[in-house]
Symmetry: C3
Subunit: 349 residues, 3 copies
């Protein structure tokens, strides 16, 4: 077999298998800055050590989605290098704050396998966990991908599809946030006076701004996560594909939408969990991304008086403003929708 | 009113009003590096801790213009989101050195208001101040912008136009620079032996090099400053504008010109103040920026034997070398001129 | 003479001359991150403090090639601003690990001069050395460039061409690597179980992936090294050149090839020396770079049981996969080859 490998195929995965992923990575203030340059986040907690310390953090934490992308990137060479499609995420919980200097690694456990009916591929379910060098678990999530078989004639394992929750419950949220001093949370500096109590289920918020993506930007971002998926980087090969262009990593759209959501959700400083996400359509360089959100739930967190949880559905579009909240027409997504994300954010009370 | 706001309009501003801006930001060595990657500065003091320490700094200071851009960026959502035009700057003083780890915030005071004759907009004058978490003021400047009215029929306040100096005086300069050890200032490492005494008023210096700007570069830079002005990022909307393209943040041209000015001003390591600036024409991705400078004044600073002050007029052009020092033909700027900047730099004696 | 200078011409160089270069530069964790964003390296030693410390480093070292580029960049204004051609490198040794916080400077000694037969230019040979603020030498190499004469009639010095080794010997390698704990070197985290003993001379490895270069990327990288060579940045001028485009810094192709080489050389964590390199054809934005390597030698290092040395020939191509190992047809390089690099890497035993 070639030394440069080629990733795992469907028949390489076994139920219960645990895969340790390369490459451990120390995240630093350099990551904070480059991620800022790429996405332009304005949440005060992640931007300012002084602000974070005033409310009870030892230091400004690393952006939750940057942590997710770094952990996700590690899983790509082992899990999805031969993926036909990324099918879904579920039950993603952010469990501990990450600070500059922490080293992140990842493992995945295979928790489900199901051959597809045409026998050319199969669906692999993994629970991936990111942790620090001292073992502290910082994020975990379930992901399922359709992976090619190396050999169509290979025998398939018995189908096993894990039970997955439609969404996290409020009592599963908040482990990554210390009890914060809500009086010390300075809404003059954070950009808005609106706290938990200002948001009601059913409310829709247009995030107003649009941002155009450049090839250099998404390539730099995806390399920052050490995510080597070929489809994002190789124009020579992609020119022969259906889209004729490099496909942008789906997480890029998520980070853009999160950053845009500051307009209207200025104090929703922490992504506590991701219930599910769907990349409805591909994003390409030159596209302009817009976003809007609907508040699905507003929940108190048992035992905490400092922060509440908002469950949001954020929709991102390309080349279409969101002032009329585009989403679905019947069962179908509108033609400009690229992302639907169902997630929980925490916001001071 | 929509949660995602829309910035202030002319009638929202009151004389004497003080606006605290979001988002505080801790600048780090990551900022130093990304700013270097974007502009390529070669001034030894900002590049090397060892060089800076040898002459009396505790650490290499953050580039002055990076400090300016970060502070400026904070003011945008409150001051100029509905600006029709950025009209001018004055009396910008750099008052304390900023180091990695410092957290920057900004406030603005409204110091002038004047409705325009067509009653559709008004000019707002603000004095903006950037400061550290401990209250140390690091930069202040006056800026005036023409801002749309929300309602043309809204009553206008009595006109008040502040008196502004044509330029700072030498005794207002240098607070951000410790007394430096001029003997320890190693001109072998700094790139030139020329010190204060080598420059004479009237002297013109071509900065020789040209640098082409890419969309990804100016977007990354402008996000680094958390400046959300829409015109820089949203190609979908700008395609419908007069220019049909994203407009590059004016500060990008200033930073490019400053970086180019190393060729000929190698030891002018500190921008001490900006007397005024004019963005004569817009800059777009794909344009190549050149620059030249004229020494307007060479002044000793009262009480200091270590550094002298040069007042410079730097002209930046696009797609036109500056070996013949293009500026004005009569009252009109030459067709390639994009920037005129009048400012003070400090240089060892 | 103009203050903004114009670099040295052939007749400005004297045999034995020592040139101290501007600008000293402190490298930080910001450099590590931006270099990662630009090249996507996945070698565990440079990526993780925890991994590096486990095997005996005090901290993750700065990528060897980043050190090389920073040192090289300093030499450009003095050595090659008037270069007609970069002719070669030899005997590049990495002699001490560089860590965040170290300040790098460079000096060059002129070790050879030879006027070209047409008397319009001459070849200048320099030995350049990069060192830390405490004097520790971190890298040295010989480079020769063809430099224009200012005045064709200027007398030429007596020709002196230095003797250069075809390649470094194994006992010259490894000074930049502490004795590492090979048992603590975790091949689960590093991405492969293959150590020194797995590689044999004559073996060829396709590095599989391809990566497309963007203008913003190579400009940011080259500015990161404070390399001001005009040909990389000035589209207005280059539009009039033979290629009509900005030429990408040759070191960019080297770094891309090194990063791609992780596929198949996962544990070859240290570039110990560069025997020689040839930029066979220019690289431009939009090109997609592929690479493959041949193992030329596998040598033990006298006195060391922890690491062995592999001498590699890495070939990079543009817009052509390397699964059939393209190189030369007879004396001529294949039409897609852009780089041939002969170098030594260290890998745990």
């Amino acid at each position: 077999m070639s030394k440069s490998g080629g990733g795992n195929f469907f028949e390489d995965f076994k139920l219960g298998q645990v895969i340790r992923h390369a490459t451990p990575r120390t995240v630093t203030s350099g990551d904070v800055v480059l991620y800022l340059g790429l996405f332009g986040g304005r949440f005060a907690v992640q931007s300012s050590d002084a602000f974070a310390q005033a409310i009870g953090y030892p230091h400004a934490p690393i952006d939750d989605l940057l942590v997710f992308h770094v952990v996700f990137g590690k899983t790509v060479p082992d899990i999805s290098l031969n993926a036909v499609a990324n099918l879904g995420y579920a039950a993603c919980r952010f469990r501990a704050a990450v600070y500059p200097g922490d080293t992140l690694s990842a493992v995945s456990e295979v928790i489900g396998l199901r051959e597809t009916s045409n026998k050319q591929s199969g669906v692999v379910y993994v629970r991936s966990t990111g942790f620090k060098a001292d073992g502290t678990e910082v994020v975990d999530y379930v992901r399922w991908v359709m992976v090619r078989k190396r050999d169509e004639k290979a025998a398939a394992p018995e189908a096993h599809v894990p039970q997955l929750p439609s969404h996290l419950q409020a009592d599963q949220l908040g482990d990554a946030v210390p009890v914060i001093g809500t009086a010390a949370y300075d809404t003059g500096l954070s950009g808005s006076e609106r706290r938990f109590e200002s948001y009601k289920p059913g409310e829709k918020i247009d995030h107003v701004d649009g941002v155009t993506v450049e090839e250099a930007e998404h390539q730099i971002a995806t390399r920052l996560y050490q995510n080597p998926a070929r489809i994002h980087f190789n124009q020579w090969a992609e020119a022969k594909s259906r889209f004729k262009r490099r496909l942008i990593y789906g997480g890029h759209a998520i980070s853009l939408a999160r950053s845009l959501s500051f307009n209207g959700l200025e104090n929703a400083f922490h992504v506590a969990g991701i219930n599910g996400g769907r990349h409805v359509a591909p994003l390409f360089a030159g596209d302009t991304v817009f976003a809007w959100s609907e508040v699905l739930e507003a929940q108190e967190i048992p035992g905490r008086n400092d922060v509440g949880a908002l469950r949001l559905r954020t929709i991102a579009t390309k080349d279409r403003p969101c002032d009329d909240f585009p989403w679905k027409a019947g069962e179908e997504y509108g033609p400009s929708v690229i992302l639907e994300l169902d997630y929980w954010v925490l916001i001071p009370r």
